[in-house]
Symmetry: C2
Subunit: 590 residues, 2 copies
């Protein structure tokens, strides 16, 4: 090694030792006869003093140093002079009095510095273009260290439980189900293509058929979708599958893993088992299948009152089978001006397709006031206030619409107001499960059922007959892990019976011929002794974001892509040599 | 869980316990009133007895069982009757007397059974098509378990040393250097392509520039090459990089890792440091840069003798600057008939381009006999025998040719004879390093230099000037890990100086414009404070093959591809929907 110690290592007990450090010049101060350099590496910073101990040649070299130059310094560890000890720094009690310095490499003046934070940070495009500089920032280094530690601990935990990590292929078969595949042209079989995996789903089921019993993989997955803010074309999931299990077994393994992570990474004790809620309950209470349970402000149903009230909008909704539901924002009446409420209304209408937003403010004494209050009897207003459990100063927001629309609108409102009103501590972590998802969702536009999770999900045994009679009521053996209002992972017990699998394909409008074409090998495998099995996939990028308290998924990934799926550092994707395309037997369409 | 124990778990101490097991029917024996089933899972086999304890309904179910059916059995653990204990089986002292059985799934009659081994195994194509059955074979399960344990231990070791695992992108930029890239068309930027990584080389160097200091990754890599027997289009490497290091530091880390693996996986103590040999020495002594050091039979040089001898072929070769070199196969004179020698000669000529093969057998008394012996004086024959250290019964094989041809031919001969003559114990493991590779190899056909390793490799400091004066003599800071005659990994110290990197690109015929186009981001990164760094990549598939004593790389991979790069189970690559191609803006060339 070109060093004896790292820049984060020296303490008082090293005083008197001769050491050699390597690192980057973080700051540089010229006090004339003495030069001070903070030398930085991944492990910390150490103050270097170029003074009387330093050879003349080395002093001259030192005086040419600039930020981000790379140097090797040899010197003696000394106590810092009284009054200059820096207890905020782990190395703050000592300094290294340099005898010699070797310039290992220079740096151009960088477009930004690793010490920049918050507002001083340049725009993300510049950060991504010079990712090697951006990755020097201590925040980024802490995040990638966190990521490493989390994944290491997940693997250790699974290993202790007898899980085998098995690598499944990246060059697979295109099964146009769910999202769009990334394709890879084959050179040897021209006109044919591989697909990059959207997940190792079929392979892990095959591994269960093959008797591997407990499988995990930290798996790279790909989806060629139009990117939303928190999506990446390639992402990493902890993929897990077990044989001879029910839902509780898979959930138990994941709970143990989360408890281990929470304890070892965050120092938190998770109470197990984690709370569970059915999908239906989640939609009723929170309007969403991944509710943020760090705070209350649950959805309150007024449909029965609406049916009795004089306000036409409410009554018409209730009578036509729609729903009237609302939220009670505690103590928020004074916070939202008419203008702010108008803005909320516009947002609700435009972003969630609601017809409007009704509201009341709760006055001293408990009466509800609002322009629409005149449409309600005093008694009805009292009953509405009572239904909400409203107290003076509260702000009531109500949506009357189709059930799905009230869910979306109130979920959006609850999320926004929860943050604006600081109803929770952002550093708090809340883990829970949502279970018993519907097997199918009806796609109006295409007049067919689609799988809520994926087509390999098993129905609850007691709902088996509903497949034939009322598929929309059929509930799946499905479970989503929810952390702070984010879906951190989703799993199901799978179908292990070939006939049942065919039946579900049939319901999804996949003809037997098509099923054989796309999933033939799975259907065949199910006929050769497939065990009952199930599993889950956890989004690792998301987990790191949640554990790190970060805002952007791109900050959890070393080399992320932009929303145009571009790597600004390398310029990928790029043009290629026509020879390459000729060899692959493909042409770019004009 | 549907079981209380696995099929490999029950021992005498469980006798009297009521247990539930799940697994596959391995064997089924019908003794009329009693049925015996060996129930199998990943963990072992347990004998189940359906007899008097069994309910009538369950006995009926049991009598319908066939191999590979999946069942759940509940019963009581009992000692096996005297005389039926099977000490070869870990569960061989007990049996489970079934009370009830649940048929979890049936199986069609499989095309082959997991118990088949060796000669009974079907052809590989059938095994690959029904990979889920093939993966049930205990040998395959042991191999994937070995793979899991090896990778787990490599990660643990690196983690203890402070290495961070960082995931680098799969969707990267095509840099047509070395092998052919797999391309991925971009939908959002039509006409542009991503490339799957041939290795994370540039990203790991960027991570060093970014200050990550110690990086590892178990990385999937891709090469679109015409496949040789031991190559796969996608493969896995342990990728490692360190900053502020020299060769010895990287080699030391890898040696420690290998010692750990050897001890924990094989129970072997590796003596460290591992032996080292320069590239030049390896070529002289073994004709190859990855010599098998489990046995001797080194190459002996006769060029000086050849120059003095009367045999025209030898003398002409020696006088024209070629080489005359040979092997002494101990005690092998009696093993090779004239016909066998003719066959060896044909092989040497056809496969390695040698002009021929000269040979002698060493008679009792030490004289050399062969048809060509008459062309040599008795004294010269004595000196040749002496040079080989030959003893009666030895077999001498000699090639006179260009140096490279003698290397290839004698490497081939040594490898073949070493195996045929059983000169080593195939279960023995030998680890060593080959170092100081040439920086460049001259490509006659293209009249240019090519990089022996890759274009980012640093020359030895003392050879820096040779870049300008005699590049062919310039030696690299390069090191290959060699196990049992296989290259298990290769690494180098990298260039961290941008001007030196440009100079090496220049020597390789990469014009500045081209260099900027292909590697611009690396060249730029080197200007912003790149530390000295180096690393290595170890072939994990290969390592598993060597540690497992396996013959084929395909047996080390769960879902391998054939030499036509086809997955026989899924049928990948396959045809895709024209809509998919239209969205990507590509067409299949007619």
């Amino acid at each position: 090694m070109l060093r004896t110690h790292s820049c984060g290592e020296l303490r008082s007990e090293h005083v008197g030792q001769r050491v050699t450090l390597c690192g980057w010049v973080d700051t540089y101060r010229d006090h004339g006869r003495t030069l001070f350099v903070d030398l930085r590496d991944r492990y910390g910073k150490t103050q270097i003093v170029f003074g009387p101990d330093c050879s003349a040649a080395s002093f001259e070299t030192a005086s040419t140093l600039r930020p981000e130059f790379v140097v090797q310094v040899t010197g003696n560890v000394a106590h810092r002079p009284e009054g200059t000890v820096n207890l905020k720094l782990s190395t703050g009690e000592i300094e290294v009095r340099a005898e010699s310095v070797e310039l290992l490499n220079r740096s151009l003046v960088p477009p930004f510095y690793p010490s920049q934070t918050g507002e001083e940070l340049p725009g993300e495009d510049l950060r991504l273009k010079y990712r090697y500089l951006d990755l020097r920032r201590p925040e980024m280094q802490q995040t990638l260290l966190l990521r490493h530690r989390m994944i290491k601990r997940m693997r250790d935990y699974a290993d202790e439980l007898g899980f085998l990590e098995v690598e499944t292929p990246m060059l697979g078969r295109s099964t146009p189900e769910g999202a769009r595949d990334y394709l890879v042209p084959s050179r040897i079989q021209q006109g044919c293509f591989y697909a990059l995996p959207q997940s190792p789903q079929l392979y892990k089921q095959i591994l269960m058929v093959a008797g591997y019993d407990r499988y995990i993989q930290v798996a790279r997955c790909f989806r060629d979708e139009d990117l939303r803010a928190d999506r990446q074309p390639e992402f990493t999931q902890l993929d897990l599958e077990m044989s001879f299990v029910g839902m509780d077994d898979v959930m138990g393994v994941v709970e143990g893993m989360m408890a281990r992570l929470a304890k070892e990474i965050l120092g938190l004790e998770l109470a197990l088992p984690l709370p569970r809620m059915t999908y239906d309950e989640a939609m009723e209470r929170f309007g969403h299948d991944a509710p943020d349970l760090r705070f209350g402000m649950e959805i309150v149903d007024l449909t029965d009152l609406a049916r009795e009230c004089d306000f036409r909008v409410f009554r018409a909704a209730a009578e036509s089978g729609q729903r009237v539901r609302g939220l009670c924002a505690p103590g928020a009446a004074g916070r939202y001006s008419r203008k702010a409420i108008d803005e909320l209304t516009t947002w609700i209408v435009q972003d969630f397709g609601a017809k409007g937003l009704a509201w009341f403010k709760v006055e001293q004494g408990g009466t509800l006031s609002a322009p629409i209050a005149k449409n309600f009897s005093a008694e009805m207003l009292r009953r509405i206030g009572q239904r909400f459990g409203a107290a003076p100063g509260d702000f009531l927001l109500i949506v009357a619409d189709r059930f799905e629309t009230t869910c979306k609108a109130l979920y959006g409102l609850r999320k926004r107001l929860g943050a604006e009103l600081k109803l929770y501590d952002p550093s708090q972590m809340h883990f829970s499960w949502v279970v018993e998802f519907p097997m199918f969702a009806w796609v109006e536009a295409e007049n067919c059922w689609t799988a809520m999770h994926h087509p390999f999900t098993a129905p609850r045994p007691q709902d088996r007959e509903l497949l034939k009679t009322d598929p929309g009521k059929c509930r799946a053996q499905a479970y989503d892990l929810v952390i702070n209002g984010s879906e951190a992972g989703g799993g199901t017990i799978r179908i292990h019976d070939q006939r049942l699998q065919q039946e579900v394909f049939g319901l999804l409008g996949i003809a037997p011929e098509q099923a054989r074409e796309r999933f033939g090998f799975l259907l065949e495998a199910l006929q050769f002794g497939a065990p009952p099995h199930g599993g889950i996939a956890l989004g690792i990028d998301r987990l790191v974001m949640l554990f790190g308290g970060l805002e952007s998924i791109r900050d959890c990934i070393a080399f992320p892509k932009t929303q145009r799926a571009t790597d600004l550092m390398t310029g990928a994707p790029g043009e290629v040599d026509p020879v390459q395309l000729r060899e692959l037997g493909i042409r770019i369409a004009k």
